[in-house]
Symmetry: C2
Subunit: 342 residues, 2 copies
């Protein structure tokens, strides 16, 4: 009987994830029933935000049970279909997780018919990270033209997309990242006004103060509480903090998560802090994607991908997200990518 | 030469304010020039929010210099006027601070011509505290009918007004206060659904969980970071936190202010936290006051005042705000209150 591989949670993760937290499982390819679709994934993604469901300690988030396939976005080809809307050969994006194969009733599956950009874009700059940047700026920050934006973890797909979309609005954009390569890409390719390598800059507070000397309208934060706390004193009156990601805090036990102390500025400076889960904006996804495809085709929106191969390497790719060594959207190729005809 | 008394800042305040931080000064009544108004105040207010400008340690707030009159809202009678819009005998609200007498060019002065409610309302339930409650619910929380609201420091004018305005929208309202008298007034007079005496309840977290068993849509917080942090796990998806006041944190040095740690819920639960300074809503003050006067006259909006006498007692009244012994809007009568004809 034909089989496929997938990655399941071996145990609730404590601290930084390790290989031992995951199992590679071999399963039998299922037979599908009426209304179902069988999809063979050719690209899967690993996301730092997924960390929060792996612990079982977070009282708010849904928690993944050991034995479950790790969640994640995927792109694949329909291999068999008993569903009227999907035909064999269709390329679809979905959320099958860390697995070579998935079965769906069609919900959450999206046919990718656009041929203007590579399929992988739909799991990166046009997927959850890019859409988080888009709606984080539009709905949460309510960004206005020519404002001042500070983006943390700026070389990630969320950060780089947020910075570039803000540049297209005439904003002054500063990015914080963790290597000279990343800073150079942000400045020279993505067009950021200022970049700060937090690992080598020395006094980060002073560097932020100098880069954003007139104050900050929007902090687009992907790092966590310590970063938010240090930036608050540089925020302008009416400033907005987008809680987009917390990569520095995801691996911490609740009692070790640092606090935000500079809260008196919430009153004196009328600050607003808000988080988002981009699926809430589902109805506006097509409009956002269409706008971003336009920017990509004009050369105004750049993205990077860091692709490795094989489902068995997904845990390693995931772990690397927390060491700062990743540069670009971390994707794992799971099979042959179908040819894209224009 | 005629004189008047006022209270000035003796030195930057550290920690809980004390009598030694203030001076009682006797000054000569000034002669006014063209365009000026001389006002003899008959009621002055003390506000916990004023604490932040007395320290010189807060990098965001404007700081009062030693020798300056302490800021505060006042109501008084025009004693002399060289200003076309004000006549001798007019009753005006203003922001002259802790002083029996003030001179103004008319900016910030408001003639009180309404006779439906006592003058003191204009410095309490219809003044900054009541308006903070009104716009905190309307603009910051964007409160909807039938939501669940938790109010802290609920027996203060801000908290009690917020709770009652929410009750008028059909909301489920829980108040936290520091004495049985306060709790009884909130429940029996103000119509709160649930009240918690945080000093005697034992397990406050459990009491909050029980009182708001379905979760909280809006936390209207007047206390500070520790309270916000403990309530976050009880917030519903899409919950809003109004940073209205920080009475537990105002007296702390910046390095001693506790942190907000439960921030992962900002993403998972799409929380929004925002502060306000009610002067931003100045253009909508008349609408808000008119609505609240209607509620007062119908018996739907109750308020309490705690009045002491004499400008020299203003520091003591202010200090009492931080000991929790105050119950009701803390006002100081500075002179005879003019008769109010209907």
């Amino acid at each position: 009987m034909p089989t496929y591989s997938c990655i399941t949670l071996a145990r609730p993760v404590e601290g930084v994830p390790s290989q031992e937290d995951f199992n590679v499982e071999t399963r039998t390819v299922p037979t599908i029933s009426d209304g179902q679709v069988l999809v063979r994934n050719f690209i899967g993604s690993v996301d730092p935000g997924m960390r929060s469901i792996l612990s079982g300690v977070d009282s708010y988030a849904q928690v993944l049970k050991p034995g479950s396939i790790i969640s994640g976005a995927t792109i694949g080809v329909v291999e068999d279909s008993h569903h009227p809307k999907f035909a064999i050969g269709d390329v679809v994006s979905g959320g099958f997780g860390w697995t070579e194969l998935g079965v769906s009733d069609g919900r959450g599956l999206l046919k990718l018919t656009d041929r203007r950009v590579p399929y992988s874009c739909h799991i990166g700059v046009l997927g959850v990270p890019g859409l988080t940047a888009f709606f984080g700026l539009e709905r949460i920050a309510q960004l206005k033209d020519n404002e001042t934006l500070l983006v943390t973890s700026a070389a990630g797909t969320v950060g780089a997309t947020a910075g570039q979309l803000a540049k297209l609005r005439g904003c002054h954009v500063t990015g914080i990242a963790g290597s000279d390569d990343k800073c150079s890409w942000l400045k020279n390719v993505c067009g950021f006004d200022e970049v700060i390598n937090y690992k080598t800059v020395g006094d980060l507070d002073m560097a932020i103060a100098e880069a954003c000397s007139g104050g900050i309208d929007v902090l687009f934060d992907n790092v966590g509480n310590t970063m938010i706390d240090r930036v608050i004193p540089r925020m302008k009156v009416g400033g907005r903090i987008v809680v987009s990601g917390q990569v520095a805090d995801y691996n911490k036990a609740p009692e070790d998560v640092p606090g935000i102390h500079n809260t008196s500025a919430f009153i004196t400076h009328r600050l607003r802090m808000e988080g988002l889960v981009v699926y809430d904006d589902f109805r506006d996804f097509s409009r956002a994607k269409e706008e971003m495809i336009g920017h990509i085709m004009k050369g105004d929106l750049h993205y990077r991908e860091h692709v490795t191969e094989g489902v068995a390497n997904m845990p390693e790719a995931f772990i690397s997200l927390f060491t700062g060594e990743s540069f670009g959207r971390r994707l794992v190729q799971l099979g042959d990518i179908p040819e894209q005809r224009q």
